[in-house]
Amino acid sequence: MNPVQRLAPLIPLVGVTLIGEIASRSGWLPPYLFPSPSSVLSTLVEDASMYRKAFFETVLAAGAGLFLSMALGLLAGLVLAASARIRRMFYPYAIFFQTVPIIAIAPLLVIWLGYGMPTVIASAFIVSVFPVIANSVQGLTSTDPVSLQLFRMLDATPAQTLFRLRFPAAIPQILGGFRIAAGLSVIGAIVGEFISGSGLGGLVDASRNQQRVDRVFASVLLAALLGILFFYFLSLVHPLVSRNEKTPEV
């Protein structure tokens, strides 16, 4: 990719920002509905310390929720992949995590865990754990049957088969689950913060109550940025663990 191609995604952004700015200044868009991009930028600069604090609160909560999802989701995936009987018994409950309306149970979390970080972490975890479980199970149970026969032929123990064959073969799918979970953990954290009142989610809620649409926009912008950062961070890890399959033939 040459530099021009690399910068291509920025063109729509600059275009929309410019149009937004012109529309706002000329009075086509009322500022109480759509703040001008420059006013969003200025609140980000003026109240930088407030946004920084909220941003890092959300980073911490979403990061902790994501870490729990990766660790416990993978563990659950390993247990579920161990036998078809266990899968039949417990998989429907794993699906619960995907279908649970987090916005509806977030108040419950507050009742159980109080207004604070634990509620936000739990919310981030609940929303993001399912893709980790589903991808881990899928990856661990779709091992190449010929390779499995080879390991049987070599009298490999179940542990050897798991750690030398099934787990490494499943890594690309497990990491795929982690990447999906990364984006979802930010969403879960924001929803948790709506209720518990901290971080970027709390800021969005408070700004809405104060009719500060510019602050709502600024907070949403930072939350989106955080989601992208999480996603790309895990995309960076991917090539380090699973080697490129498409290298040219010797």
């Binding site: 049987r152 032929m153 080697r243 290298t247």
Partner: protein, 243 residues
């Protein structure tokens, strides 16, 4: 070496499998198994290996599992491991330390022409090289019984011939026993000492014969009149059977 008594296995879903079979295989023999798909050749190999349980009868081998190697049609290499790590896998699973295992693997990698690629990953290799890695992995344990299930099926003709010549050479030096399933009559007869032809569903052995072609198998043998008449005999037996 191998003694099968009434050994059979049927697959109800496909109607294929192996009809009860009595067979004795002596040490140091290269046995070729020919026949159409679904006639129980691969099943027989898996029964001998203990990868499948017999439906009826029994099979005994004088070789322990540790002294058997199975080469599948697909190389079944671990894509995340290097060539040398793939080759030493059987030794590592048995607890041999890495350094010792490498020392043991080097002569095999040299013989099979893959030493140069030892640090490459399977995705970087051609089909022929991958099969060489698979063969090296099977040979590194000094097997007394080598079970080959269409090992050259996915390869080009020149590569098949080249690998066949090398494997026959290794076979003569190792004094092991080989059971090879193949769809190629020419290849099977060229490399084997004894041929079994299977036919039907479930498969029955319709020909069991020592080929008497001698130990050395130069490529020129494939043009020999006696050899060609054997090929014709097998072709006639297989012709008209279920595809």
């Amino acid at each position: 070496m191998i003694l099968a008594r009434g050994l059979g296995k049927r697959y109800e879903s496909t109607g294929g499998g192996l009809a009860p079979l009595d067979l004795e295989v002596n040490r140091g023999q290269w046995l070729t198994l020919l026949g159409p798909s679904g006639c129980g050749k691969s099943t027989f190999l898996k029964l001998v290996a203990g990868l499948e349980a017999p439906g009826e009868g029994s099979v005994e081998t004088s070789v322990s599992r540790a002294k058997m190697s199975f080469v599948f049609q697909e190389p079944a290499l671990l894509s995340w491991s290097t060539v040398e790590e793939n080759v030493i896998l059987p030794l590592r699973l048995r607890g041999m330390d890495r350094k010792k295992a490498f020392e043991k693997a080097i002569p095999w990698m040299e013989k099979l022409g893959i030493l140069h690629f030892r640090t490459s990953h399977p995705s970087q290799l051609s089909g022929g090289l991958k099969m060489r890695v698979s063969l090296a992995r099977a040979l590194v344990t000094d097997p007394e019984l080598l079970l080959l299930d269409e090992p050259f099926a996915a390869l080009d003709e020149p590569v098949r011939i080249e690998l066949g010549l090398e494997l026959r050479d290794l076979f003569l030096n190792m004094k092991s026993t080989i059971l090879m399933v193949t769809h190629s009559i020419t290849e099977g007869l060229w490399l084997g000492d004894r041929v079994l032809v299977f036919q039907g569903r479930p498969g029955k052995v319709i020909l069991d014969e020592d080929l008497g072609l001698g130990a050395e198998r130069p490529l020129s043998l494939r043009g020999d009149a006696r050899f060609l008449s054997r090929v014709e005999q097998c072709f006639d037996l297989l012709k008209g059977g279920p595809a």
